[in-house]
């Protein structure tokens, strides 16, 4: 190898300093690249970057929208952390979200003309059960038949979406809805309470924060969390230690599924209020990026979900104020992610200049 190149050395522990520093490096690089791209496109780069990153959150409404978008991402991502920590590649959170919306929303539709304090909790529980059941299918197939969860969880996304499709076109169709593919609206007590009048941020935010705290507690303070970590690092060590691997698989998938299910229910009972075909803008897939960007850590996931949500909002503002096509927004979003992911390198590894052996 060429000697004058620095060699890469793994840090024995991720650098705390770098953890803080890396996002700043990524942001600076993003701003620089963004300036170049937008200058080339003939825009004032400062105006463009302001449109992307500041104007979406320069009002109370904007911040509320940021939270509306980030809440499901964070909730699903923390659920995914249970799977990913254990090296279970569940990429089917979108399906678990959809099933949660179907179960919880189904309760809401059944009680569409009933009001009562018990309705929303019932819907949330139903949503969690729906998501958990859907998550348990790949877990069951994995433990019983050794099937790979990447494939089964992905396939189940499509199946769940088609089931939702079947329900809103068929049996659950709004009888007063001129046969359009949507259900009745939930009754008022089947909706997530709004936190501020005029803003869309709803009670789901607190559920999410609570579940993130709950997950942090599990990860750091319980034997289950320890087992997850060990079996993720070294499956053989976990076997020697006598952990019940199958139980871990079931639990991880059930927790992940129920979180995604609650996120789905929160989405339909929060900002939407009924069921139709297209309830989620790929939250289940985007949350995978959020989970890894947040390095499966609760605090990291909160920040990552805010950053990702901001890039979506920014792309909308860029269309509106700069007539930039949605595609450019995606390219820019991709670049931001590349920088963040690439800069992670500095957290986990350090460069060392050393003499030849």
């Amino acid at each position: 190898m060429i000697n004058f190149l620095p060699s890469v050395v793994s840090r024995s522990q991720s650098s705390k300093l770098m953890s803080l520093f890396v996002p700043i490096i990524a942001v600076i690089l993003t701003l620089m690249t963004g300036s170049i791209i937008f200058s080339l496109m003939g825009f004032n780069p400062i105006f463009a970057l302001h449109t992307f990153f500041i104007s979406p959150i320069s009002s109370a409404y904007g911040i509320s929208e940021l939270l509306v978008k980030a809440t499901p991402l964070a909730l699903i991502a923390i659920g995914l952390a249970f799977c990913f920590k254990n090296n279970l590649y569940n990429i089917g959170a979108e399906g678990q979200l959809t099933m949660g919306a179907i179960f919880g929303g189904g309760v809401g539709i059944f009680f569409h003309d009933t009001n009562g304090f018990w309705l929303l909790p019932l819907m949330i529980i139903a949503g969690a059960i729906g998501g958990a059941l859907w998550g348990l299918i790949p877990a069951l197939l994995k433990t019983k038949f050794n099937t790979n969860e990447i494939l089964t969880s992905l396939m189940l996304v499509y199946v769940a979406l088609l089931i939702l499709d079947y329900l809103v076109v068929g049996p659950w169709k709004d009888p007063q809805g001129y046969s359009f593919p949507k259900t009745r609206s939930f009754s008022d007590s089947g909706r997530m309470p709004l936190l501020f009048s005029g803003l869309r941020i709803h009670f789901g935010l607190f559920i999410t924060l609570f579940l993130i705290f709950f997950s942090w507690f599990i990860f750091t303070k319980t034997i289950f969390g320890f087992q997850l970590k060990v079996s993720g690092f070294s499956p053989s060590a976990a076997r020697y230690a006598g952990f019940n691997q199958n139980r871990l698989v079931y639990l991880a998938f059930a927790i992940c599924g129920s979180f995604a299910g609650i996120a789905g229910l929160a989405e339909v009972s929060g900002p939407i209020g009924l069921l139709y075909r297209d309830i989620s803008p790929n939250y289940g897939f985007t949350a995978i990026i959020v989970a890894f960007l947040g390095r499966l850590h609760p605090i990291g996931i909160i920040f990552a979900s805010l950053v990702i949500a901001l890039t979506y909002l920014g792309a909308e503002d860029a269309q509106l104020f700069m007539q930039i096509p949605a595609a450019v927004g995606f390219v820019f979003q991709g670049l931001v992610l590349f920088y963040l992911l690439g800069a992670d390198f500095l957290v986990n590894y350090k460069l060392e200049f050393r003499k030849n052996k």
Binding site: V9, F145, N146, Y166
Partner: protein
């Protein structure tokens, strides 16, 4: 159903399945070396638009495919830089690559939507898709380089200890994967449905990813999986057109459920799975390890 229409059905299945074969064999080689690239859909789209735009500008099918493959190498090269050199997380980087590819392809193709072109006959590519499966099988199981590639995917530390350049081998595998995905995309925009439309691959990249797992990382099984998937899709269309009274959503579920069922049957043999799944998949390698 008479013989003629049966042949017709088989032709439709062949045409519809070929992009899945290209994309999944590319991804299979990448994964065999121990790298998971979830950016298949993004690379397919960039490949599709590059081929289309090149064809419109130069009028040459040959250049269209060459540039398309180069675009695949560019996209996968970007991915390779991030995951091999900067050791970023493969799952997240692949997803980011898809987002990037969706945006980049729409940006490049903006002016070319709805430009009419003469489509190329798909049959050369259909035949080539079978040949490439054969070649990759041969490469993996009959050549030394194939063995090395598999070894790198199995245990990069051992491969490194034996003196093989893990990073270089993975880089080549990723670039091959990218060029195959781009080829799949160019087949779509030039042969299958000769046009450029934003997001025209419509999720086939994800199906290709699933097919790699379905194949249990065996090239020949890619054909089996892809043709089950493509076949069930076309079969349900045929049944619908015959006026069979079954709910169409369940028809549409059939390919996914069939894929899962076959997978369950295949993977019940635990030993076989263990032997074929690359053990180092998604685990980054660096020499300091």
């Amino acid at each position: 159903m008479n013989l003629e229409s049966l042949i017709g059905v088989i032709q439709i299945v062949l045409i519809a399945t070929t992009p899945l074969v290209f994309a999944s064999i590319g991804e299979l080689v990448t994964e065999k070396s121990g790298v998971l690239n979830l950016g298949v859909e993004g690379m397919m789209l960039v490949g599709a638009v590059t081929a289309f735009v090149t064809l419109v500008i130069t009028g040459s099918y040959f250049l269209a495919f060459i540039f398309s493959i180069l675009s695949g190498i560019f996209m996968s090269g970007l991915f390779a830089f991030l995951v091999l050199i900067l050791m970023s997380n493969q799952v997240a980087t692949g997803l980011a690559l898809t987002i990037f590819g969706i945006g980049l392809s729409s940006m490049i193709g903006k002016e070319y939507i709805g430009t009419p072109i003469d489509g190329l006959t798909p049959w050369y590519f259909v035949i080539f898709s079978f040949i490439i499966i054969f070649l990759i099988s041969y490469f993996f199981y009959k050549t030394k380089h194939g063995l090395i590639l598999r070894a790198v995917g199995e245990s990069h530390t051992s491969a490194h200890a034996l003196g093989y350049n893990v990073i270089k081998i993975r880089l080549y595998s990723i670039l091959f994967g990218g060029s195959m995905c781009a080829l799949a995309g160019s087949y779509m925009s030039i042969c299958y449905a000769p046009m450029w439309q934003e997001g025209m691959t419509a999720g086939r990249g994800w199906i290709a990813l699933a097919l790699v797992v379905f194949s249990t990382w065996k090239p020949s099984r890619i054909l089996l999986g892809a043709y089950i998937f493509g076949g069930v899709t076309i079969l349900q269309m045929n049944l619908q057109a015959f006026g069979l009274r079954l709910p169409a959503q369940f028809f549409n579920m059939a390919p996914y459920i069939a894929t899962m069922l076959v997978l369950v049957i295949i993977s019940s043999n635990k030993l076989r799975i263990k032997l074929s799944a690359p053990a180092s998949l998604t685990i980054p390698f660096h020499k300091g390890n």
